[in-house]
Symmetry: C2
Subunit: 277 residues, 2 copies
């Protein structure tokens, strides 16, 4: 399962996050081929790059709280520039606008909010799903799937892609439960969590055993954690749960949770996805 890391010895995720500062607000980058999706790079690795550009900005305060990325056009396997701009800072949050420029176009826009957390009354209301452990589940075979999938060790407990069923059949529910971690171990951080928020295959592929053109239009992720909790997750499996609510005339929504191995909800994420019959 482990893809070969590039000759510079970097982890494949870090090799896809090699932003070069042009100014404090502008970063140039390029996504390696091993992160390719059907068209352009995996959306999650692009989201990670947008977040990373803000993390790298010397004016940045606090830790990631919210990230929205809008996918307006295809990103080519070529250099791009990410432009970050702080729009508003108050006592608890800092707001950023982000754009990805390539070939004179702006295929991606986004916004990010960074936050300073304080100790307060806290509680987790969502319940950690009970599923088989990752050791009891087979890894997803990446062969035949887009290149980026091989970067992850994905173990589906329920709600796999319906054309992988034998025989392929429609399913009534789009809910998926799975475990996921990097194929080549790497400690979890915020950009990695932003990328993982997009690993859930399109819900329409769970419902229907047919390939159709699909693409994320907009994704919003909320980070419910802090650096210390991310550090305690380390390289271990995360539990993921995803489901859709409505598929209507070319667009469906999809929500997902990413849980730490110890039962902490690390992130919740939502997206609206284009599909074409």
């Amino acid at each position: 399962m482990s893809p070969t890391n590039p000759p510079d010895g970097l982890h494949s995720f870090d090799s896809a996050l090699q932003l070069c500062a042009v100014t404090d607000d502008r970063y140039s980058g390029q996504i390696p081929a091993q992160w390719a999706n059907f068209v352009g790079p995996f959306g999650g690795i692009l989201a990670a790059n947008l977040l990373q550009a803000v993390c790298r900005n010397p004016a940045r305060l606090g830790e990631p709280l919210a990230l929205t990325v809008n996918f307006g056009g295809p990103v080519a396997s070529a250099p791009f520039e990410i432009v970050t701009r702080a729009t508003c800072t108050n006592r608890s949050t800092q707001h950023w606008s982000i754009e990805l420029h390539q070939n004179g176009q702006t295929p991606l826009t986004g916004t990010a909010v960074f936050a300073a957390r304080r100790d307060t009354w806290s509680t987790q209301e969502a319940v950690f799903p009970v599923i088989e452990g990752p050791d009891q589940l087979p890894p997803t075979v990446a062969e035949g799937l887009p290149a980026w999938v091989a970067n992850y060790d994905l173990r589906v407990a329920s709600g796999g892609m319906s054309f992988l069923n034998d025989p392929p059949a429609e399913q009534d529910s789009s809910e998926t439960l799975l475990w996921v971690r990097d194929s080549s171990p790497r400690p979890l951080d915020y950009p990695a969590l932003a990328a993982l928020s997009d690993i859930f295959f399109p819900r329409i592929f769970v419902r229907r055993p047919a390939f159709v053109a699909v693409g994320t239009v907009s994704i919003s992720t909320y980070f419910h954690t802090d650096s210390a909790q991310l550090d305690s997750q380390g390289e271990q499996f995360l539990l993921g749960k995803a489901w859709g609510k409505r598929f209507h005339n070319g667009f469906f929504d999809h929500s997902a949770e990413l849980w730490g191995h110890n039962g902490s909800l690390l992130a919740s994420t939502h997206q609206i996805v284009y599909y074409k019959e």
Copy 2:
């Protein structure tokens, strides 16, 4: 329950949406006092204005699909300007960046996606909640609550604010089920749906019977409908369901569904909210 409409005869919602075109891309506006929240105007009416500014832009194509609004700083009860910019247009979606400027600052930023829908395989997976009809539930008394609440006829079936309980007591669940419509009847449209996406009182007030400072930081709404479905909703009650997943060191998330009276999921919406003990 019906607030008095202003002397110009406009519905209170329309009077709060009176944008004046400065150029094709810039609109000036101001929110009337009857839409005031504890600090500044109700977030939902601001979100509606951001969406309306794009709807008004002559370059706009298609109907609203996704809207994200980030609340970076307080908006004063004073004139503001909304700047809209199309960043990318493809065959099915058009992407917009939006900013609200006031007093030389940018308290709000946002992005919107508009879409052209086509007839495709469609299905609704989420299930319409079963609750008492609105006629069997008392309207929420707006007295003592921020001014904007009086613009809505809100009928809570379960999960009300816990300090309204007798006696006030902590609750284990933040889930709320309610009916809502305009106090003064008005047919539903997209800006109204954007505003309604923010009517769910803060989940921490459902959990705990204590007033604390709260404020939406970022809200994302997905529209699952089209104009024809909105027209069929008319002035009737919508069913709303909201719940939170994690309250952690100053921020909690909150998701909600808005259902048409006939059982169509019209919108799903998600936000991350600041709270201070």
